[in-house]
C-alpha cells in the first residue's frame, strides 16, 4: 500500500509558501477585480512568516502544517487568517500518530480541514470561494481511491479537480464575502481564494507524490 512518512515531509509546507509568495502579485491582481486587491499580500505575509519559522530545521508534516495554521490564525486576521488557519491546523491534528500516512489517512486529513473551514465560514460549493476548489478536489481523491486507484493516481485526480474547480469560479456569481455585494458584476473572473487554494493543493499533491513509497 502506498504511503508517505509524516516524519520527513515538513518541507512540503516550505514549497507551498514559496509557491504562494511567487504568486503574490497575481493573487492580488485577481482579488482586485472583484475584491479589495489584498489577497496576495495577506497570503504572502502569512505563508512567509510561517516559512521563516520552519526554514532552519526539519519538521514533521503535521508540525509544519500546525505552524502554518497557527501563524495564519494569529498573525493574519481578515477572513483568510481564520479560514486557512483552521484548515491547516485541522489537517495537522488529524494526521495519524503513527508515522505512515496512507490514502485513507490522507483523505481523513483533507476532510478534517474541510470540516473546519465549513464550520467557521459557512460557505458551500457554488458560492465562488476557495471551497469551489477544495470540495471537488477532495471528492475526486475519494472517488479515485474508492474505485481502486493508487494513492499516486488519486493525487493526480485531486490536482486535476482542484484546477477545474478553480476555473469553475469564473462563471459563478459570488454569494459570500466581499465580492458578493457586486451581484452579477462578480461573474467573469476567477475567485482569488479558489486560485490560492488550487496552488496549495497542487503543491501538496506534488510534494506527497515525490515522497510516496509502497
Amino acid at each position: 500500500m502506498q504511503h508517505f512518512s509524516n516524519a520527513a515531509t515538513g518541507d512540503i509546507v516550505l514549497a507551498m509558501a514559496d509557491r504562494i509568495i511567487a504568486n503574490k502579485a497575481y493573487l492580488s491582481e485577481i482579488d482586485g477585480k472583484i475584491g479589495d486587491g489584498d489577497h496576495g499580500v495577506n497570503m504572502a505575509k502569512g505563508f512567509g512568516m510561517a516559512a521563516d519559522r520552519l526554514r532552519d530545521g526539519s519538521y514533521r508534516l503535521s508540525e509544519a502544517l500546525d505552524t502554518l495554521g497557527t501563524v495564519l490564525m494569529s498573525e493574519i486576521g481578515g477572513s483568510m487568517g481564520p479560514l486557512y488557519g483552521v484548515m491547516f491546523t485541522g489537517f495537522a491534528e488529524s494526521l495519524p500518530k503513527s508515522d505512515a500516512v496512507d490514502s485513507t489517512a490522507f483523505s481523513r486529513m483533507l476532510h478534517a480541514g474541510l470540516d473546519e473551514v465549513q464550520s467557521i465560514g459557512g460557505a458551500k460549493v457554488g458560492d465562488k470561494t476557495l471551497l469551489d476548489t477544495l470540495i471537488p478536489a477532495i471528492e475526486a481523491f475519494d472517488q479515485a481511491t474508492g474505485s481502486g486507484a493508487t494513492f499516486q493516481n488519486a493525487l493526480v485526480a485531486l490536482r486535476t479537480a482542484a484546477e477545474a474547480g478553480r476555473d469553475s469560479t469564473i462563471d459563478l456569481v459570488a454569494k459570500i464575502g466581499r465580492a458578493s455585494r457586486l451581484g452579477d458584476r462578480s461573474r467573469g473572473v476567477l475567485d482569488a481564494g479558489a486560485t490560492s487554494c488550487a496552488l496549495i493543493l497542487v503543491t501538496l499533491a506534488e510534494g506527497v507524490t515525490m515522497k510516496l513509497t509502497s
Partner: protein
C-alpha cells in the same frame, strides 16, 4: 498619494504607536502590539468590555478605550479584521473575573475571528458573551437584519454596554443592554468620494463627480443607488427617510443622533446636514435627546457622512449620559 505615512505596510503600527504616545494617561499596550488596553483595565469584579475591527476608521475603534468605556480593543490591518489571537488577547486584558462581553461589527472576518477567540478564551476559563452590531440599514432588507453590517451605531453600543459594566452589572445584563442598544440603532452612509488603501495605491472604488452613493458601506461597499448630487437638505431628508422608515418609532419617542464624517468631509458640512436632519426628526414627532456631530467613525479619507439614530428608553438615556474619558471626542 498626498499622505503623512512612512511605509504603506506599517500604517497601523505607526498609528497605534503615535496614538499610545498621545494618550498615555488613558491607554496602554500589553504584550500584543495589536491590542490597545485602557490604562485602568482590568477592573477586578467588573465585566470586561472589548471590541475590535479593521484600522482606518479612527477614532474608531481604539479611540473609545478609556474610563467607563471599552477595556480593550483588538486592532486589525486597514479595513481588515484583527486576528483571533488579538481578540483573544483583548479579552484576556479586559477580564476582571466576571466575564467579558465582545461588542463588534457584523463582517465575515470579525465573525470568524471572534468565534475562534471565544473558543480560546473558554479554554482559559473566561466566559465571553458577544453582541454583533448590524445597524446599517442599506446592507440588507428588514427581513434579513442579521445580515446587515455594523457601522457607527457600534459607538452607542459600546457606550451603553461599557457604562452598564462600569455600574457593576453582570455579564448577562451587560450583554442584554448592549444588544438592546444596537437593536435600537439604525444607520445609513452616503458617499461623495472614495478612499485609497496606502498599500494598494489607487481608490478601492469610484464615485463619479456630480453623483452621490446612497447606502455606501464603511469600506466603500456598494450602496443601494447612485444618483445625481443633490442639496444637503434633500440628502438629509433621504437619509432620515431611510433610517426612520426602517425604524418605525412611535410618536414622542426620544432619540440620540450621531452624524459622523467619513474622513475628508469638513465639519461645517456635517452641521449643514444636521440642520435638516434635526428638523426632519422633529417633524416626525420624535424628540432629540442628544446630538453628536463630528468625525466619530471614519473610512480613511472617504468623502461622505453617516447618520445613526438610536431610540432611547430611560435606561439607555441614563447610560448614554454617563461621563466618560476616552481619546475620541465622545
Amino acid at each position: 498619494m498626498q499622505r503623512f505615512i512612512n511605509d504603506p505596510d506599517r500604517v497601523v503600527e505607526d498609528t497605534v504607536s503615535g496614538f499610545v504616545k498621545a494618550h498615555a494617561d488613558l491607554v496602554r499596550l500589553g504584550n500584543n502590539p495589536r491590542v490597545v488596553i485602557a490604562a485602568n483595565a482590568p477592573t477586578l469584579g467588573k465585566v470586561g468590555v472589548v471590541t475590535g475591527g479593521g484600522s482606518g476608521h479612527e477614532p474608531a475603534f481604539i479611540g473609545y478605550v478609556g474610563r467607563a468605556m471599552l477595556d480593550a480593543v483588538a486592532v486589525g490591518e486597514l479595513f481588515s479584521s484583527p486576528t483571533a489571537r488579538s481578540f483573544h488577547d483583548a479579552i484576556k486584558a479586559a477580564d476582571g473575573g466576571k466575564g467579558v462581553v465582545c461588542l463588534y461589527g457584523n463582517y465575515a472576518g470579525d465573525n470568524m475571528n471572534v468565534k475562534m477567540a471565544t473558543r480560546l478564551a473558554a479554554k482559559d476559563g473566561i466566559e465571553v458573551a458577544t453582541v454583533v452590531a448590524n445597524d446599517d440599514v442599506c446592507s440588507a432588507g428588514p427581513e434579513a437584519r442579521e445580515k446587515r453590517r455594523g457601522v457607527a451605531g457600534e459607538i452607542f453600543m459600546w457606550k451603553c454596554g461599557s457604562a452598564m459594566a462600569a455600574a457593576g452589572a453582570n455579564l448577562e445584563a451587560v450583554r442584554a443592554t448592549a444588544q438592546k442598544a444596537i437593536d435600537n440603532c439604525r444607520s445609513i452612509g452616503v458617499g461623495l468620494g472614495p478612499c485609497t488603501l496606502p498599500a494598494v495605491g489607487h481608490p478601492n472604488f469610484t464615485i463619479e463627480a456630480g453623483t452621490i452613493e446612497i447606502g455606501i458601506g464603511h469600506h466603500g461597499e456598494p450602496g443601494i443607488r447612485v444618483e445625481p448630487l443633490k442639496s444637503a437638505a434633500e440628502t438629509a431628508r433621504d437619509m432620515c427617510a431611510i433610517v426612520l422608515d426602517d425604524h418605525g418609532l412611535s410618536l414622542g419617542s426620544e432619540v440620540a443622533v450621531l452624524i459622523s464624517g467619513l474622513g475628508a468631509t469638513p465639519l461645517n458640512e456635517l452641521y449643514i446636514l444636521n440642520d435638516t436632519i434635526a428638523a426632519e426628526i422633529e417633524a416626525r414627532g420624535l424628540k432629540i435627546h442628544r446630538t453628536f456631530v463630528g468625525n466619530y467613525f471614519t473610512s480613511l479619507e472617504m468623502v461622505g457622512a453617516t447618520l445613526t439614530i438610536m431610540a432611547l428608553d430611560d435606561e439607555l438615556k441614563t447610560l448614554l449620559d454617563v461621563e466618560v474619558r476616552c481619546p475620541a471626542p465622545f
